[in-house]
Assembly symmetry: C2
């Protein structure tokens, strides 16, 4: 088990572990200069974290609850719990803005200790922001603090146990503070696998996956995180909720689905019971080339509707394919245009071979051309690295951000066109809009956009305007404002378009019931 002291903290102004960051390769710098020009935009080094707004007396009462060591008010700890890792978050961090740092960071070590923190917060009317990996990209850590005595970051870093494994039912009970690799290491020692690999995998946590309805790169094979959850324990200001009496039931509404995606606004998830699978003996990735994004997407649809999905399937559009091909070290340099699809398989050798052969036959019939394992392995190798690249681009004055949505197949092409147009219109000539499909269902798919533009004098305002245009386009086509990154504060103004005024009313009613004084992540998720 990783001890909290040893856990690598993310850099306050950048993604991930500073030791893993790499400089831009010279070839990339050349391309970027050509496309956007280069402008060094150094981050502000001198950062002043405001003094905690909570009195020493109040902090002492918290220390009495949790112990002195688990109540942290030093500047660095508080700075590291300020906001998440969206580009707007990074732009603010680079500008030295930490005015919304929490007043105190607490580290409860158990469900009961979480409940004790919540009781303390209710008593003193202090806002509580649950903190897992800090990888949020939708403003879910930026709780409203006005009207509250202060703001506490409830860091789940000490709750890292694999509580139990049920090998017969193939389930495991995990604590929320486990990061992706930590959870997989503990499970691997039991011969099983969770199989959830979002891009934030190395830092994001089990509790965060559940609270935000995360989806991983192997969603085609293992399912979205919400589909992996069979049970939950949640600490609320009114007490304990335990759900998950059976894989599925008809005992009224499925309340698990109310806490999944609740982003700390209904309670703090303190245990998650997940489906696990046997550790795969073989993992294999390969590339396929398609004449166009549309033909590749149609092939994905056919696979999904034939019940023939590999473990990983993703398809880059023409622009994203071209950009990746410009990095010849990563995909083998086969630059013949079209669109690149990655397929991945995991399992026993026999199962992998059977699935691969059936999928490959169908893809060939549908017009795909295999380009071998090189591009697949290159993708798998770099699968968690994109956020580091974003930092390098921000360093040279290129505004980079991603956004994602999902829709039914028949609306895919319209959604793709309208979001792309909205971003290009807002960000102007020379903007790069790349897209891939990385999650597919029988009935539809996600679209994941990456945007790069030359930074204006006000890059934050520049991006917020573009993102608003994109969100407007998304809701206008009837698609979802987020397939796997949650609502946070950034998507909240659009949520009512998706669930209607009554849907919003229901969320408010649930929140009022579980959190009558509203201390839980105020302003996040619930409009």
């Amino acid at each position: 088990m990783t001890s909290p002291k040893q856990q690598v903290e993310m850099h306050p102004q950048r993604w991930g572990d500073p030791a893993s960051a790499t400089d831009l390769p010279d070839s990339a710098r050349g391309l970027i200069e050509l496309a956007f020009g280069l402008a060094e935009t150094p981050a502000v080094d001198e950062v002043t974290v405001p003094a905690p707004a909570l009195s020493e007396e109040l902090l002492d009462s918290l220390r009495a609850v949790l112990g002195v060591e688990q109540v942290l008010t030093d500047d660095e700890t508080r700075r590291l719990r300020t906001r998440g890792k969206s580009t707007p978050d990074l732009l603010k961090a680079r500008a030295g803005e930490v005015g919304d740092a929490p007043d105190v960071v607490v580290r409860p070590g158990s469900h009961d200790a979480v409940e004790a923190v919540l009781a303390w917060a209710v008593e003193h009317h202090v806002a509580v922001v649950p903190f897992g990996g800090g990888t949020c990209v939708t403003g879910g850590l930026a709780a409203r603090r006005d009207g509250f005595a202060g703001l506490v970051s409830l860091d789940l870093v000490r709750m890292k146990r694999l509580v139990s494994v049920d090998h017969e039912s193939m389930t495991a009970v995990l604590e929320p503070g486990l990061r992706g690799p930590e959870a997989e290491a503990l499970l691997a020692a039991e011969g099983v696998l969770l199989g959830h690999y979002p891009q934030s995998f190395e830092f994001a946590t089990i509790g965060g996956f559940a609270a935000t309805r995360s989806s991983g790169q192997s969603s085609a094979g293992y399912g979205r995180f919400d589909s992996l959850v069979v049970g939950l324990r949640v600490a609320t200001p009114r007490g304990d909720v335990r759900l998950g009496s059976a894989p599925m039931n008809a005992a009224g509404p499925d309340l698990r689905q109310l806490f999944l995606g609740s982003e700390g606004a209904f309670g703090v998830i303190t245990e998650v019971t997940v489906r696990v699978r046997r550790l795969p003996e073989v993992e294999l990735y390969e590339g396929w080339r398609w004449a166009s994004f549309a033909t590749g997407a149609d092939a994905m649809r056919t696979l999904a509707q034939s019940g023939l999905l590999p473990t990983v399937i993703r398809l880059s559009d023409e622009a994203e394919t071209a950009i990746n091909l410009a990095r010849p070290d990563e995909i083998g340099g086969q630059s013949t245009g079209g669109c690149l699809m990655i397929t991945g398989y995991a399992g026993t050798p026999a199962a992998v071979e059977a699935k691969r052969s059936a999928v490959s036959r169908l893809l060939s019939e549908l017009g795909g051309t295999s380009v071998g394992e090189g591009p697949g392995e290159a993708w798998a190798h770099g699968r968690f690295d994109a956020p580091y690249l974003r930092d390098s681009l921000l360093d040279v004055g290129v505004l980079v951000e991603t956004l994602e949505t999902a829709t039914f197949w028949s609306n895919r092409d319209r959604l793709y066109g309208e979001v792309k147009a909205a971003l290009e219109e807002s960000l102007g000539a020379g903007t790069l809009v790349l897209c891939h499909i990385s999650h597919v269902y029988e009935t539809g798919c996600s679209l994941y956009f990456t945007v790069a533009a030359k930074e204006s004098a006000d890059p934050l305002g520049q991006w917020l305007a573009a993102k608003a245009r994109a969100n407007d386009a998304i809701v206008a086509t009837g698609a979802t404002i987020t397939h796997h990154h949650a609502v946070g504060t950034d998507h909240r103004p659009w949520l009512h378009h998706e669930i209607g005024d009554l849907g919003v009313s229901v969320l408010r009613a649930v929140k009022a019931d579980l959190d009558p004084t509203g201390v839980l992540n105020p302003g996040v998720m619930v409009p």
Copy 2:
């Protein structure tokens, strides 16, 4: 499209279409006499339906909303909307008890008309019970009427449109009043299939499937009904809710899962968007013999955890297998003990052959013995007939009822033993308790019990006591009180064991928000 006038009504005291009912075969009568004795227990013919409690003035205001023809107060129509089809419901109906008949039956033809009925009900404080197929077995139609001016049965029989089919996304929008075969006929004309076959298939409706989280006999292949739903429209006293922006999303909690299983207590489902599949070209059923229920169940678990489920898979325990073998016309007469498993496959010839061959290989390896297609075809032929048999047994003084639950695999054996013991202890010596597994997941399965006992002088009290003992045993093992028959009024006293006091509190908060005056199915589902 079936017109409402032509729709076959179920018999008020029996299951289904009187024209489809058959007498007990003589061979069965002999066995029953041996086991329980025979006692003719005729139903009461003279039934007095109480006069409507609503004034003519109030009824006139309803007629003004819906039109005179859609507001029915005749005795026969009201009697046919009284309660559902559980054995307690049938025992009451046979005893001539219709004191809880609705005061009026209304038949709105559109979402807007449903909203108009709800507005009328709120204005006059009249309770509203949505009515689909009337096949409920958990008391979901027995709303509380005290404190209300009266009770209206909101019959969805006129809402039978297939609104649209999206062939690219493979979804269809269905109105709630479509019975199973009607929905499938409309979809088949479009070349697609819903694939939802609960035992109540011939009479139950799309709205009812959604409102109760029904699961069908082909759940292994096509999924439970809740997993087939991608969108919903719901009429509530506060207006319209439309959900389903994408196959899945992370835009907060999945509110679809709050209305699925809400049994009319949160609103009236007026449209359901479902996944559809291509019509199968081949359907094929076969039988497998297992040495014991445990070895067969383990094989099902292995199949599920290998991702190798057929379209249908079910396994009878030793007692149920023996009873079925006593009806030699139906399963080919191979009486060599053990347990019978039915496997079924549907799809293209190639897909069926590939799946069947992989499944059969695994089942053989695990110790199963194929007994050919005879038993499978016999099961498929009689798959909707068991409720007719129940009537015939009630006719001769045999108390027959079913109940079901679900749990994780590691708890299966304990749950099976404890429910069986509870029923046998409550109903006494000579009671037959049969069980089968008909729905399986990677992590667990359902257990479906059929109970037969000699009727006491008070068969209703006799069954209610046994069912309470069984429910106590179910919640004591941590299993669910219902896998696919909803809460109704019968399971309501046990719901808090499953979702906790806070879960109950959340349900009440949602109900209070959407239905502030509480007119929607009062007393049903929400404790």
